[in-house]
């Protein structure tokens, strides 16, 4: 017997105090579903809900049938109404949370799950789903640059999941995006403790140390990460970016940074950031042709942002390719105006 039928059976059996007409409709809906006549069931359940507007189970059952029919948004609406009528019903809340998550409504999905855990802290399903939903929401917030909202989410999630490495990686990310670099270091450190094999954790930890002004510790962390993940181009790319920053302040040679970035590309030629960094290094040393090659590779690798176009324009102008340089300058300005910088 499917979940929908169980729900419908329960609805039909339990709603003893409801108007008889509504109960009849619910029973008929049960039979309709069993017979594969979902549309009739949906119509009956809508009518039943209209006759008994405070009955959460009719709406919940309606939501179940709608979900079965693939009508996710109406199903969410039905479960939302059911949850409003029966705020302590963890079954309904869990269903609502699951459906919202299925629809990618991460922010909305959190609410019923948090509600479940407030009344039933040991609800394993809600606990697992809330972690997933929170991580997905964090990714959305990071992509949309809503760093303050992400920080609040991550802090709350880290309190709920003190032993989750991915959650601490998320926390580290948002703390650093909010310039709370020392808090970011703590978050990443915890992530690495929880998951010593987390490449994201190790890389984030090293980057956070660098941003917090702890260059010596950052170098050690990068070296450890590079040794632990010898086949990871991404780790070496991040290490190379760090060395390029040290080069700016005279603490490292340009060649050391370039060597690290080239080793990253040897492991993964698609690493666009490494190409960009090599392009900028080449440009700073007068190697405009080499710079243009790397910057083209960065663009081809999908790093289509303002700084790449700006560097490409500078390189091409030095090569006398004025028209191409102007094209990149226009692209640079378009991207700036599109929100990368205000007036």
């Amino acid at each position: 017997m499917s979940g929908v039928l169980i729900l419908l059976a329960a609805t039909a059996a339990l709603a003893q105090t409801e108007p008889p007409e509504a109960m009849q409709l619910a029973r008929r809906a049960y039979e309709s579903v069993r017979a594969g006549r979902s549309q009739e069931a949906i119509a009956d359940l809508r009518r039943a809900a209209g006759i008994a507007p405070s009955n959460a189970l009719y709406r919940s059952a309606l939501g179940g049938v709608l979900e079965r029919e693939g009508q996710i948004e109406p199903a969410i609406e039905a479960f939302s109404e059911a949850a409003r009528l029966a705020p302590g019903n963890t079954t309904i809340l869990f269903k609502l949370g699951g459906l919202r998550a299925h629809a990618g409504q991460w922010e909305a999905a959190r609410e019923p799950l948090v509600q479940i855990l407030s009344v039933e802290p040991a609800h394993a399903g809600a606990e697992a789903l809330l972690e997933t939903v929170s991580l997905e929401l964090g990714a959305v917030l990071a992509r949309s640059k809503r760093f303050r909202a992400g920080q609040l989410l991550a802090q709350d999630t880290a309190k709920r999941y003190p032993r989750s490495a991915p959650v601490h990686v998320m926390l580290g990310l948002f703390e650093s995006r909010n310039q709370r670099n020392i808090d970011a270091v703590s978050a990443y450190r915890r992530a690495v403790e929880l998951a010593p094999d987390s490449e994201d954790g190790h890389t984030g930890f090293a980057i956070a140390l660098s941003a917090a002004g702890m260059a010596k510790e950052a170098r050690a962390a990068f070296e450890a990460a590079a040794a632990k993940f010898p086949s990871s181009g991404a780790v070496r790319q991040a290490f190379g970016v760090f060395l390029a920053q040290l080069h700016e302040t005279g603490e490292e040679s340009a060649e050391a940074a370039a060597t690290m970035l080239r080793s990253a590309l040897a492991l993964d030629p698609r690493l666009a950031e490494a190409h960009y960094q090599l392009g900028v290094l080449a440009l700073s040393e007068g190697g405009a042709a080499r710079a243009a090659e790397h910057l083209n590779a960065a663009l081809a690798g999908g790093l289509d942002d303002a700084r790449v176009h700006y560097a490409a324009a500078r390189a091409l102008r030095r090569l006398g390719k004025t028209a191409e340089a102007d094209q990149h300058l226009r692209a640079f300005q378009e991207r700036k105006q599109a929100g990368e910088a205000g007036p």
């Binding site: 020392i182 002004g213 700016e248 302040t249 005279g250 700006y310 500078r314 102008r317 910088a341």
Partner: protein, 540 residues
């Protein structure tokens, strides 16, 4: 061995001699800055504190003007918030004459720009601020008259930051450029916190405003030519400005340092028009395409090639930037190779001035710093809230090293405006800066070792102060090139005289290119003193 030890000891002693001494405590200066820091943390509180070194009473000694911020709706200034004007009677003491001088404004104060805009032989003062600036005409008797309304210089409704006097159209009269910052009011509802405590919100929450250019009609009034000059269409958070003819075409150009907005390099096309060439010059953005937090800016020849270069102060982690002028566009940014990146990484810089502090002929950098995030130390181990000034010594090629001169240079401040000038007429250029909610710091230069010769220009066809003039002095095998710039630094105005550091040499011929285009050649000057030089009737 014994000789080497003595030499080492002597060097150590020399190295510990402070280059500058803070004389404020003994100079009779009781003024104190007040920014009206409020529970709301209005952003304007973090950017105030101007200073001018000027000879307002024409006695040949440089006086001091300090610009106060003022109270905010919930941030009082218990001791008052008047501006400070100190007359310099000599002997290292200063006398408070603010009240008698009548330099009072009701606006929230920002910076000062001093110059003889009416060519009557005495120094007038423009005070920038919010919601208006104020122009004070010098009466010639130690007092000033507020001529803001009649002159049309109020810049009403704007948050004016640095301002610069310069002759935009070569008509012999000084025009006024005002670097406006952002749209703002004390009704601002933006609030930001860090760990539950109020902090200043990011500047990017405040839309930038366009600068204003006021053309001097010569009759005591000014015309707003911002639109026709092409600057009204350039909104951005402008903080610093310096005027200099960077391309040697005879027209004064402007470099405008802007905060998280691209810097402007306004090329003067003549005919009252300007064109922003900052992008082409590669001074608008960092090499990483970031519009840095430009605060202060100055111009001068740091690499000895006879062309004006620029230095811009920025936020921590962004480095204060150096742009060398190769005589064509783009400029060459040497922030990394000059050593400035390494020397300035932890600092939020404000006032900056190229000054040959030791009179060896090279322009060094005096920079004042100070953060605005009260809890910055909880986010970065290498950055402090209160930060020391920097004295960066030029090797003559535009590469800098830090002079650890002790005292002031090892003390943290929330410094903003910085002005330089020779307060005791000894040829060693002194300085003064304002630090938020502190007494000002007046620095006497104790380091002068080289010969020097000073020049004060008196324009006749050109503006009386000679702003915009280029001076070239032969010193042995070298030619030292200096400009009398308009503006420069942050919220500041400087001694208009030029001091040439000669090292061990004697001065040779001096060539002056006046803003009028007249070229003047002056026979070798006597070293160790100032010379007043008048613009000739014709090119000599």
């Amino acid at each position: 061995m014994r000789l080497a030890a003595i030499a080492a000891a002597a060097f150590a002693s020399y190295a510990q001699t402070p280059a500058f001494i803070n004389i404020t405590p003994t100079a009779g200066i009781g003024w104190r800055h007040c920014n009206g820091q409020s529970p709301q943390r209005f952003l304007i509180e973090s950017t105030t504190g101007g200073v001018a070194i000027l000879d307002f009473d024409n006695d040949g000694r440089m006086d001091l003007l300090f610009v106060n911020g003022g109270p905010t709706p919930d941030g009082p200034c218990p001791g008052g918030a008047r501006h400070g004007l100190y007359r310099n009677p000599g002997g290292g003491r200063f006398v408070d004459v603010a009240q008698a001088a009548g330099l009072a404004t009701s606006s929230y104060g920002m910076g000062a720009a001093a110059a003889d805009y009416d060519n009557d032989g005495d120094t007038d003062v423009y005070l920038s601020g919010y919601p208006s600036g104020a122009l004070f005409r010098n009466n010639g008797d130690g007092s000033f008259t507020d001529v803001t309304t009649v002159s049309g210089t109020a810049n009403a409704g704007e948050w004016g930051a640095s301002a610069a006097w310069f002759d935009s159209d070569n008509d012999g009269r000084l025009d006024l450029f005002i670097a406006n910052y952002a749209a703002f009011s004390f009704g601002d509802s933006k609030r930001c916190q860090f760990d539950g405590k109020p902090v200043y919100c990011a500047q990017t929450l405040y839309p930038g405003r366009p600068p204003r250019l006021l053309r001097n009609r010569g009759d005591g009034t000014f015309a707003d030519v911002s639109a026709s000059a092409g600057v009204a269409s350039l909104p951005g958070r402008a903080l610093g400005v310096v005027a200099v003819d960077y391309d040697s075409d005879g027209w004064q150009d402007l470099f405008v340092a802007r905060d998280a907005s691209p810097n402007l390099l306004l090329r003067n096309l003549g005919g009252g028009r300007f064109e922003d060439v900052a992008l082409e010059a590669e001074v608008a953005y960092s090499p990483g395409a970031v519009a840095r937090a430009g605060m202060g800016v100055d111009a001068g020849d740091v690499d000895g090639d006879g062309r004006p270069d620029f230095v811009v102060t920025n936020f921590d982690g962004e480095y204060h930037a150096v742009y060398l002028n190769p005589g064509r566009l783009p400029f060459r940014e040497t922030t990394v190779s000059s050593g400035l990146a390494a020397l300035t990484r932890p600092y939020v810089g404000w006032g900056v001035r190229m000054v040959d502090y030791d009179n060896d002929g090279d322009l060094d950098l005096l920079i004042v710093n100070g953060h605005l995030h009260e809890m910055i130390e909880r986010t970065n181990r290498t950055v402090s809230y209160r930060e020391p000034p920097l004295l960066l010594v030029n090797d003559g090629q535009g590469r800098f090293t830090r002079s650890r001169s002790g005292g002031v240079f090892d003390t943290g401040y929330l410094a903003r405006g910085l002005a330089v000038g020779d307060l005791d007429n000894d040829g060693a250029v002194d300085a003064a800066f304002v630090s938020l909610n502190d007494p000002p710091v007046v620095l006497r230069n104790e380091s002068s070792r080289g010969n020097w010769a000073g020049v004060r220009l008196r324009g006749t066809a050109s503006n009386r102060d000679g702003i915009g003039a280029r001076l070239r002095l032969r010193v042995g095998a070298r030619t030292l090139t200096r400009w009398i710039t308009g503006g420069g630094s942050f919220l500041a105005s400087h001694d208009g005289r030029v001091v040439f550091g000669l090292g061990e040499s004697a001065p040779g011929e001096l060539e002056i290119l006046w803003p009028s285009g007249r070229l003047q050649r002056v026979a070798p000057l006597a070293a160790g003193r100032y010379h007043e030089l008048f613009e000739p009737a014709n090119t000599e």
